[in-house]
Amino acid sequence: MAEAILRIENLSKSFEGSVVFDDISFTLVEGELSSIIGPNGAGKTTLFNLITGYHIPEQGKILFRDQEITGMQPFDIVRLGIARAFQKTNIFPRMTVLENAVATVITRQKGNLNLYTPFTNLKAAHEKAYAILESVGLADMAKRQSGTLAHGNQKRLDIAVALALEPRLLLLDEPTAGMSPEERRQIVKLVQELWERLKITMLFIEHDMDIVFGISEKVRVLCYKTILAEGTPKEISGNQRVIEAYLGEEV
């Protein structure tokens, strides 16, 4: 039935002596759409950084599809099937939107070493890139320099780039941060659509509780250096400890 796609086991991380979280464990089931919430500075982004290989944990293991990926290089982890969309927009500013996508597609197809074919001639890659841009609604801005895009569109591009990697697991770090309510709605709609269509496992970090409780199947609360609670939105919103520690502020 549903298999575990990501296993976090006894993970601990500190920076220069200051403990971010200690001995956390959880399991993501394949196809799950879940979220992580918690106060600022609780270590949610750090957790993403550990999963994607940007940092190395002091202790613990991360297993992706039963393969240990703790301490692997980011680019190797990406190739295994984990993609990430970032909190602060993290695109390639002076390249066009299309080039952002094409570069990712080419990398996915391991075509980076081609020294002779002009990349603009790679029809298949371009078609694929266009398809992805369309799925996030950016196809008509393909030729614009990505750095000049509005914030919301840059986020879409970020997601598009992550999708171009054909991931099995997609990590979204605060996808709606800094957006207007309307933009927020659109992004949520997009995320849900993509999840339903592509059936990939998604894990996102969010502060907006409406979104969290609206679309997640499962919620995990990262607080006080540990996973305080884990459960369905209904369970979490009713959890006394969580309300005291965190939700109390939000609600």
Binding site: G53, Y54, H55, I56, Q73, P74
Partner: protein, 294 residues
């Protein structure tokens, strides 16, 4: 190798290391506070050395007084030069990208090194040691040059002085604070700009002192600036940027290493700093200045 010979070489190596420390500490201090790697630090050192040569030709006799005069006059002169450089040039690029700062200091090295060549020419120079330090001292049947011993004492004295200044004086505290909390410092009403300028001047003073001391130790030529700055890089590779203690450790290792490498390799011993850098990079490929984060 006899024990005597080993100790002889060791002391010479430590002496080299101490001299390197004097210069490298200036570089690392400037980086710690101003966050600028001053390529031109080596050039300032070289200017100090050549100025020592010129000044010494005016002073007659090998008295200790003349020697101290050199040490008294030239380093502040270099510090003054540093003042002008900081105010006119460095100050403008603090907020800029590191690479821009690098290009700036690189341009300075081009200009300064060429100026030295124009003023003093390409021949190697040297300055005679003061009579008192010109001889040698017998230690365990080996004749150790007195001058080397002198440097061996000056080095730690300077290190102690720096430690005292950095940790026991207000000025030092401000410098250290500027490393960690530059913005807060400004908010507290401290004239941060003056802290930076004076740190820079101190760094230049150290470079100048190193130059003056070097001029009596060995021949100086147009290549010593670049040679020294690369040795300084090797020092910070070992000891970390911004750490005076690290600079001491790194300098001693490099100094001793070069000295002992001369035995089998002769003049190729000059390659030792590069070897160090290469080895460190193989063993710690995640970068020199941190833990195994990426």
């Amino acid at each position: 190798m006899t024990a005597d010979f080993f100790i002889f070489m060791l002391i010479n190596g430590l002496c080299q290391g101490m001299l390197l420390f004097i210069i490298a500490s200036g570089l690392t201090l400037v980086f710690g506070v101003l966050r600028v790697i001053n390529f031109a630090h080596g050039s300032l050192y070289m200017i100090g050395a050549f100025l020592a040569y010129s000044l010494s030709t005016f002073l007659s006799g090998g008295s200790l007084l003349n020697f101290f005069l050199l040490m008294l006059v030239i380093p502040p002169g270099i510090a003054l030069l540093g003042f002008f450089l900081e105010v006119t040039l460095f100050r403008r690029v603090y907020r800029e990208e590191h690479l821009l700062q690098l290009l700036l200091t690189y341009a300075l090295v081009l200009i300064l090194d060429e100026l030295v060549r124009l003023i003093w020419g390409g021949d190697p120079r040297s300055v005679a040691r003061p009579d008192l330090l010109a001889g040698s001292v017998d230690i365990m049947s080996m004749a150790l040059p007195s001058y080397n011993l002198f440097i061996l004492f000056i080095g730690p004295a300077l290190a102690l002085g720096m430690w005292l200044m950095l940790y026991k004086t207000r000025a030092g505290n401000l410098m250290r604070a500027a490393v960690t909390y530059p913005d807060t410092l400004g908010a507290l009403g401290v004239n941060v700009s003056w802290v930076m300028t004076s740190t820079f001047m101190l760094g230049c003073w150290l470079a100048g002192l190193g130059g003056v001391l070097m001029a009596e130790l060995a021949n100086i030529d147009l290549g010593i600036g670049m040679e020294k700055i690369i040795e300084c890089f090797a020092v910070v590779v070992i000891g970390g940027l911004g750490s005076v203690g690290g600079a001491l450790l790194g300098s001693l290792i490099i100094g001793v290493g070069i000295t002992f490498f001369q035995l089998p390799f002769g003049r190729w011993a000059l390659l030792f700093p590069y070897l160090v850098m290469a080895v460190v990079l193989i063993l710690r490929p995640w970068g020199l200045f941190g833990k195994p984060e990426r």
